[in-house]
């Protein structure tokens, strides 16, 4: 599958840059070594190549449809999901006592990346189930785990997340779904849910909906939201799925991309006969939901990255094969045309894709490694970084979600551009990848929400401790890079950019302290882009340090080309993208009010 994922790059990031193997020094992960990690990724690539990728175009062309009785999905999807489950991917990150592998989350991110790149629509079904299973594993009772979680890990039940309603998506405070207690921790659920991926299908024996609803008489707003397990079918005596639980399909939503993941509008309790089981305590539902939100958002960013990465691989191959035009200096019209990769502007578009997608992939894996470090701490292992790890993850999450969904989408746009008319036609996959990727800026909290979360919550929490932690780590990389003469200039420009980002942050927080909260947050999306660029530049500087050191050793021609490519892509990002931080910082410092003072009627 070298055509959609660069194994070389994945290995470089995981093992050379992030030293994931070091995690096996801790007791929780010591059943593993690099060999088992590579074997897991080998199996993922194999299944992705043989069972996921071949039907991606067909599924996009022939998406799930409702035939009046059931949702019909082309049969290749079930075969692919079965292979995923049978190989044990659903249980991979769970504890050994639960039949899992205790696989580090960073390696899990790597295998998920492979499936996203191959066919994000089909991968959606098991990955949604995995997210729901993680939530139940953390917050459900032992009984609930036995009844619902175990069948999910066996692949018999699939999972969904039901947050949005037709009138309330980003604003969960306005949801109206109601849960009336009927005893034994059970509630009657009534309401409509919207944009529910995997909401109805026949791929699994049952579907476990995790539903946010309000219990009457509870606190107003988000503090009155509780979380419920609502199965599509109630469970009979032996835990097998039995009669309907009054969850009705209202209709399917037809989408621009991600067309193979069925998306539904659902009605809960139209006949007043829909039963849900409370997860955890009443009114804490949103907190439980957000517990898994970090992982889900990092996952969305990773998905965006891999769609960009797959497009990059396709357009790169095309640019090497396609012959068109001649060198600017070649005046002979009878000479052989050159491969389009020989044209500087095509190389610009390929470099932009490489810089965005490989920088973002490193960030996705870096965040996963932070999650692993917190697992080590939770399991009683000692790590110097304890609290810092959690803070950094909180701060990086909105960036890891929003930056790739903007800039790796841009990469998909460039992949189409490299391929010209062919890229625009459905004969090649790059137009599909672009459509698929367009979703990622929207779901799991729009990028606008991410920007507010970053500036309004994460940057200011604990008096800016998270941002301090981030800058501390970036400075450590800068110091390391400065020890290498070839990287001194690069390191210095990141140092300057960090200073610019810090001064914009000070100007903004000063406005917040003066009570100008609307001005503080009005340009948050610019702030996210600015800090995102600093973070991706940091990811590239880390890669450059490793590439630089490996080049000094004994490397063959092929490896040398790979490492030179890393240094060149780093240079591209630092020369073409990082300078934007200066302008953004200055702009943010002016507390510009253009968007705030604009009036609706002036449009």
């Amino acid at each position: 599958m070298s055509d959609i994922i660069s194994r070389k790059d994945l290995d470089f990031l995981l093992f050379d840059c992030l030293d994931v193997e070091k995690l096996t020094e801790h007791e929780y992960f010591n059943g593993h070594n690099r060999e088992t990690f590579e074997a897991v990724i080998d199996t993922a690539i194999r299944i992705a190549r043989e069972k996921f990728e071949p039907h991606a175009a067909k599924l996009d062309h022939d998406p799930p449809r409702f035939d009046g009785t059931q949702v019909q999905i082309i049969e290749e999807v079930a075969e692919a999901v079965d292979a995923f489950v049978e190989a044990g991917f659903l249980r991979a990150v769970f504890d050994v006592e639960q039949g899992g592998m205790q696989l580090p989350y960073s390696v899990a991110q790597a295998f998920m990346a492979v499936f996203y790149a191959a066919n994000c629509s089909t991968a959606g079904y098991p990955l949604l189930t995995l997210a729901a299973a993680n939530l139940l594993d953390t917050h459900a009772t032992e009984d609930q785990k036995r009844l619902f979680l175990e069948p999910m890990l066996e692949g018999r039940f699939f999972g969904t997340m039901c947050l949005s309603e037709p009138q309330a998506g980003s604003s969960l405070t306005d949801i109206t779904t109601v849960a009336e207690p009927i005893g034994d921790g059970r509630y009657k659920i009534r309401g409509n849910k919207m944009w529910i991926s995997g909401g109805e299908h026949e791929l699994s024996e049952n579907i476990v909906h995790l539903v946010l609803a309000k219990i009457p008489g509870g606190p107003a707003g988000v503090k009155g939201i509780s979380l419920f397990i609502v199965p599509r079918y109630r469970l009979g005596e032996s835990g097998k799925s039995a009669e309907s639980n009054d969850v009705e399909l209202i209709g399917l939503n037809h989408k621009m991309g991600f067309r193979g993941t069925v998306n539904t509008a659902l009605n809960f309790g139209e006949n007043d006969d829909c039963v849900g089981w409370l997860v955890g305590e009443e009114h804490y539902g949103l907190r439980y939901m957000f517990h898994m939100m970090n992982e889900a958002r990092v996952g969305v960013g990773l998905g965006a990255t891999m769609l960009g990465h797959a497009g990059f691989q396709h357009s790169l191959k095309y640019a090497r094969d396609r012959r068109q035009g001649r060198s600017i200096t070649d005046k002979n019209p009878a000479s052989e045309p050159v491969a389009i990769i020989e044209h500087a502007d095509v190389r610009r578009m390929l470099l932009a894709q490489k810089a965005a997608t490989e920088g973002a992939l490193m960030l996705g894996l870096y965040c996963a490694r932070l999650i692993d470090e917190s697992v080590v701490v939770e399991a009683g292992g000692d790590l110097e970084s304890g609290e810092e790890t959690g803070l950094l993850l909180e701060l990086l999450t909105p960036i890891a979600k929003a930056w790739p969904s903007e800039f790796c989408l841009e990469a998909n746009k460039l992949a189409i551009q490299v391929m010209g008319g062919y890229g625009y036609s459905s004969e090649y996959p790059v137009e599909r990848l672009y459509r698929d990727n367009r979703l990622n800026a929207i779901h799991e909290g729009t990028n606008g929400i991410q920007a507010l979360d970053l500036l309004g919550r994460k940057v200011t929490m604990k008096n800016g401790a998270a941002l301090q932690a981030l800058l501390g780590r970036v400075n450590a990389t800068i110091a390391e890079a400065k020890e290498r003469p070839e990287l001194v200039e690069t390191a210095k420009s990141l140092e300057v950019a960090c200073g610019q980002a810090a001064s914009a942050t000070m100007a903004l927080t000063a406005a917040a302290m003066e009570g100008k909260v609307d001005l503080f947050l009005a340009n948050a999306s610019v702030y996210l882009e600015m800090l995102g660029h600093v973070v991706i530049a940091w990811m590239w500087l880390m890669q450059a340090v490793v590439a630089h050191d490996q080049l000094a050793g004994d490397v063959d021609e092929e490896r040398e080309a790979f490492l030179r490519g890393k240094l060149q892509a780093c240079q591209y990002f630092f020369r073409w993208e990082l300078p934007k931080v200066k302008r953004q910082s200055e702009f943010l410092g002016t507390l510009d009010d253009t968007t705030l003072s604009m009036k609706a009627e002036w449009f």
Binding site: S2, R7, G31, N33, E35, T36, E38, A39, V40, D42, T43, R46, I47, A83, E86, A87, G88, F89, R91, A92, G99, M101, L103, D556, E557, E558, R559
Partner: protein, 248 residues
């Protein structure tokens, strides 16, 4: 029942193989390796037979130290233990068969199941030569295997169709690609494989002289295929197949 199966580490057939400029071999820089696909069918069949009849599956490879990866994969699929006969030399089929004959002498399996050929050299010789050294019966190109009462009934792919052959065990079966659908190495399987025994031997340990009997003169890439042409209609196609290609 003790089943011996073999795996070869080969260059990934999906990659484009390049010949060295002096034609002495292929370029190995940056090449990726995997288990020979016909051997996957052999390993799968060995595991299926063990599941049905009980016993043990021993997987053997001859090759560089890196071939432990392919052996671990076979054990992750379900083989019980592995033997690597380690050598960096490029063995001809006869040497491979003589090394295997020694391993068979030590292990005394009831049946040997191998891929019918390796996708790198495409020679399809080793199972047959091994049969000759061991003086065991062989059933090559199997698409179906049944074992009963010390005999193997093997459905074989032959020119123009299929044939069934019954051989007395111990014997050798070589696998064709319709035989089964090889399973994936599952994640729990990968964890188990880590703890399964892997013994490393050398040709010297087995007393085998691996000096080649076949001399390779040089390597050449096959002639590149020309571009296809669209024909106007069926008549045109038939005429050109007759007159230009002269195939009908």
């Amino acid at each position: 029942m003790k089943i011996l199966t073999t795996v070869k580490r080969v260059t990934d057939p999906d990659m484009k193989v390049r010949i060295q400029p002096d034609q002495s071999g292929i370029v190995t820089e940056g090449v990726e390796y995997k288990m020979n696909s016909f051997d996957e069918y052999g390993v799968e069949e060995a595991i299926t037979l063990k599941e049905a009849h009980g016993g043990e599956v021993v997987v053997v490879s001859i090759g560089p130290g890196a071939a432990t990866k392919e052996l671990r994969t076979a054990m992750a699929m379900g083989a019980d233990r592995a033997i690597l006969v380690e050598t960096d030399a490029d063995l001809d089929s006869d040497a491979v068969a003589r090394v295997l004959a020694e391993v068979v002498g030590r292990e005394e399996p009831d049946v040997i199941i191998m891929g019918k050929q390796a996708v790198d050299s495409d020679r399809s010789q080793t199972p047959q030569i091994l049969g000759s050294y061991l003086n065991w019966p062989q059933a090559t190109f199997a698409y179906k295997v049944e074992i009963e009462d010390g005999w193997a009934v093997v459905g074989r792919e032959v020119d123009g169709g299929t044939a069934t052959k019954r051989i007395k065990l111990p014997g050798i079966i070589s696998a064709d690609l319709r035989l089964n659908e090889p399973r994936y190495a599952s994640l729990p399987g990968i964890m188990k494989a880590k703890r399964k025994p892997l013994e490393t031997l050398t040709p010297d340990d087995l007393g085998v002289d691996i000096a080649p009997k076949v001399k390779v003169l040089n390597y050449e890439a096959p002639e590149e295929r020309g571009a296809g042409e669209m024909v106007d209609d069926v008549d045109d196609l038939i005429n050109r197949l007759k007159d230009e290609a002269r195939v009908i």
